[in-house]
Symmetry: C2
Subunit: 130 residues, 2 copies
């Protein structure tokens, strides 16, 4: 298993654990936004929005450029990639669940087709493939 | 974009934002564990371990079965799948970054090999593969 820094993953998942911050990421995915634009859809003050933005910055998810009084924020997606890579190590567990469901459905189907039900190779193949 | 319940994603990412809980998930990926077994690798009390386990349960990541005084915990991976699906919507941003890097490297390489630099098909192929 690739080892990502614990601190980076802590910051990433903490940043994603809030619906306002996830909505801000979704907005940033459409293009750069000022702090005011990021705050606008939410019932929060500019100071409240700034706190969320700082959490996103801390997680490396947001790059802020300051020109005079305008702070322009851009999405930085690399930490999200690390999150996906971490989660993917558990992929076999949900695909195993799907295999089990598949096997159940085949078994339920078996009485109608006894000849095919005896032949267990296809389900074994399915299992090793995933 | 598939809409997952905000509450579920909050619970999932909150559960993943702690290194002890991520380590517990990694242990559970190897097989069922008792609460004592989950606590053992960490410098925490059983009560401390129980709190982490409750957070994992709340996120739907852990199923606990009680037989007498033994609580056996099992991994439930489905919420992790939802997390991956949510994160994948941002995949185009990190692949775009890699493509840009690829283009830069090719451009830097171009003056030395003008004949190959003109042939743009390989870079287009690379882009569609990702």
């Amino acid at each position: 298993m690739v080892e990502y820094s614990d601190a980076r993953l802590n910051d990433l998942f903490r940043a994603l654990a809030d619906p306002t911050r996830r909505a801000m990421l979704q907005d940033l995915a459409a293009g750069p936004r000022t702090v005011g634009e990021l705050a606008a859809p939410h019932a929060i003050s500019l100071a409240g929005a700034s706190k969320h933005i700082q959490v996103l910055e801390q997680a490396g998810l947001l790059d802020r450029q300051v020109q005079g009084r305008v702070h322009t924020c851009r999405l930085e997606a690399a930490p999200l990639h690390e999150g996906v890579e971490w989660l993917r190590h558990y992929e076999r567990f949900w695909t195993t669940r799907l295999d089990a469901l598949d096997a159940l459905l085949r078994a339920a189907d078996a009485p109608a087709k006894p000849a095919r039900a005896r032949k267990r190779t296809p389900s074994a193949k399915t299992r090793t493939k995933r």
